[in-house]
Symmetry: C2
Subunit: 192 residues, 2 copies
């Protein structure tokens, strides 16, 4: 097993602790316990805790980007955009956990400007992908010519992020089917 793979293992153990016990209780010792090892493992693969946190956060982004990449292989269509956006929706347990980890990190970034910039960087990348998708759809005359692709990318991401949050904070939440319907309906609104 390569060093990089082992780092990912440690990072995933950190994820599990975060989801189960909360980010502030995710100590180096707790991660080691989750790995059924001692703290020596963690300190061996990460210089300090900040490096571990940053790595784990980047793993979240990496997961999302890969999922979107996979969808991007399909032929251009409205449906492809819908599926791309649904990448963010907590439709299965894996994505629910990613969402929780992401929310925990975002809350942790409040009052830590450098961490918030990390979030902004990854969010900016996702915005870029959606925007390019909109531009392509616009060129193909599938969506209206008069929409501002930059702004619309923000709105679409805001909508899917909001829907994702809804699944966390609402007891009477949108079910997976409704989530898809809402996104599809919104996109229909900007289609020709």
């Amino acid at each position: 097993m390569s060093q990089q793979d082992r780092r990912i293992e440690v990072s995933e153990a950190a994820w599990r602790v975060i989801v189960r016990e909360g980010l502030d209780r995710t100590s180096i010792r707790a991660i080691a316990r989750e790995l059924d090892c001692t703290t020596g493992v963690v300190t061996h693969y990460f210089r300090d805790k900040q490096e571990l946190i940053l790595f784990a956060l980047n793993q979240v982004t990496e997961n999302l980007k890969q999922a979107m990449q996979k969808v991007a292989e399909k032929p251009l269509s409205i449906e492809r955009l819908v599926e791309m956006l649904c990448t963010f929706s907590p439709l299965d347990i894996k994505r629910q956990e990613i969402l929780k980890v992401w929310v925990a990190f975002l809350g942790y970034a409040v009052g830590r400007e450098s961490l918030m910039v990390e979030h902004q960087t990854s969010a900016g990348q996702l915005r870029e992908v959606i925007m390019q998708e909109l531009v392509a759809l616009q060129s193909a005359k599938i969506i209206r010519e008069d929409i501002d692709t930059g702004m619309e990318a923000n709105v679409l991401l805001a909508l899917v992020n909001g829907i994702a949050l809804d699944s966390l904070i609402q007891k009477q939440r949108l079910n997976p089917q409704q989530q898809k319907i809402v996104i599809r309906r919104y996109i229909n609104g900007i289609s020709i």
Copy 2:
């Protein structure tokens, strides 16, 4: 000054520390420093830290509810719904700080089921208000009859929450004017 007022003072000091340094660094000692007092003040007005956290979180909800209450005094109209929803938008510094505190608490609630339930309770109340607004507008034949007010309340809150998050995580973010336009445009889509 009443006991309740003093509790609010402590809570607001906690807010400032959270926004400036992060929730996990908001220790009782840090709050006391912010108040320019000793920890005696904090421990006198709150049994323990959990009670303080819960109080500070409820203050966030209280702030939002009061702002919405104020809007609710105006006559029923599409514009009133827009303004209600804009209550959540970080249009000024005060609301930006409330948003940050809220996000910090939400992240803190990951892995703490009881705290997450608190979030769900307050989010549920806000959903109820928006839903009643939709029902009233529907009765007044201002918005379409065929929309599901329950689901639409979720979507509207998801949209404004998403827009609020956008202001935190996007560098190329929606400006306040665009935020209002987006909300208004969406509501026009469900109007007659």
